[in-house]
Symmetry: C2
Subunit: 255 residues, 2 copies
């Protein structure tokens, strides 16, 4: 059994705690929270402390606090040569204080406290400074999900950018689709199954092969007619740029 | 029971035929195919004809052929004052010959012949020229899906543009995410659960409220650092434009 001390009581900490409770391979032996008095500890029932000096011995210390606070919490730890990881996608491992063995334990998913999470489906991105620590992290990770990956800090930065494209920008396109629907009194729910199907497709086939539509076919008649119908200047710019990028990707061979 | 003649044996025709076979409320009494000899008729076992002059009497004639061929097939019909619809998202109802009562029966989904389709989840967009014909189309549609909508030709054009944003452009963002992953030797599968979660979210909440990320927060430090890391000129342009559009949408109040 691997022992874990969890630092933080936010979304990630809560979901990790719940996931660890499901397996006998991991025991959360302590939780650190700045504000024990607050109602933010829910059913986290192991020994809770608000004093970093009281941290007990464990195989792994997981700092699951906001990005800004990671370095500070890591600096304040009264531990030496322990395995200490953070859970942030956009923070390098080097943000952690060198007095301990450093690592990253980053679940790539957006969590909200209210929504239950099936950790089985969440990828865990791991990083450590030695083979031995990699083994410990992988053991802990595998106890809650089959999807574990060793990802360097450099790769994690790139992955974060890729996530901005496939999550943040994609959601903004959903918003634009919704705006076009509103303008024409079309219920957005008509588009919901298509949105789901589009996301579903790239679970099995490569997005480059899943592409359809007028820009993929370089169907200039449809493209020009759709551009003419767009009233919003920014929507038009996005339509033009995405279409140009699609034509660059698939070529003009079908003209 | 409503009788239907199906014209065409492509993806849409095949899936409609299969859906109609599941309900006793609809009887497909005839299928028209230009090439009976070909193996394209599968298990479509009612009376098949390749002669438009042999079409028998029915309550509804569904032209499920390629967009280019709709007007031609409709012109060639030897019928008068029958209810004739097409199944195209991008073709106006007016493309149909006026010698018959015209309408549209458009399933908003991308079909492939190999993949079975749960018609229950597919929205059917209906249009007709009279209340009476609307009632017939709704009856047929409701026999295969609860999701039926009356959508005018004008609205359908706008809906098609919205679909380009939430399907074609979204898939292209998935492709760009994949390219960034490839460049940094990150397996794309790490992003797949996030893609699914992003699509899942807007099934229940409005995309404008689901938005997260650096541009939503107007987090200039992260935005500038990510822009610097992008090597591909078009990726950079898309990042800049989407970020600008997000900041226009959510304002600068969080600066």
């Amino acid at each position: 059994m691997t022992t874990v001390v969890l630092l933080g009581t936010g979304n990630v900490a809560t979901h990790l705690f719940n996931a660890f409770q499901q397996t006998k391979k991991i025991k959360v032996v302590q939780i650190f929270s700045r504000n024990i008095s607050k109602n933010n500890v829910g059913n986290m029932n192991p020994i809770i402390t608000d004093n970093l000096k009281e941290l007990i011995d464990a195989d792994l210390y997981i700092i699951a606090v906001s990005d800004d606070a990671i370095a500070q919490v890591s600096d304040q730890l009264q531990l030496k040569n322990k395995l200490v990881v953070h859970t942030s996608g956009s923070t390098p491992m080097a943000a952690l204080n060198t007095k301990n063995r450093r690592g990253v334990f980053y679940p790539l998913q957006s969590f909200s406290k209210e929504k239950a999470v099936d950790f089985n489906k969440i990828p865990l991105c791991l990083e450590a400074e030695s083979k031995g620590d990699e083994t410990i992290l992988e053991k802990v990770a595998k106890a809650i999900t089959p999807k574990t990956y060793f990802i360097s800090s450099e790769q994690r930065k790139a992955m974060h950018i890729a996530a901005v494209f496939v999550n943040n920008f994609v959601n903004h396109l959903y918003h634009i689709g919704n705006e076009i629907c509103l303008e024409h009194h079309i219920p957005f729910e008509i588009l919901q199954p298509l949105i789901q199907e589009t996301a579903q497709k790239v679970q099995i086939i490569n997005p480059v092969n899943a592409q359809t539509g007028p820009a993929r076919r370089n169907d200039e008649k449809t493209i020009n007619s759709q551009l003419e119908q767009l009233n919003n200047k920014t929507h038009k710019e996005i339509y033009e740029l995405m279409t140009r990028s699609l034509i660059e990707t698939y070529g003009r061979e079908k003209l």
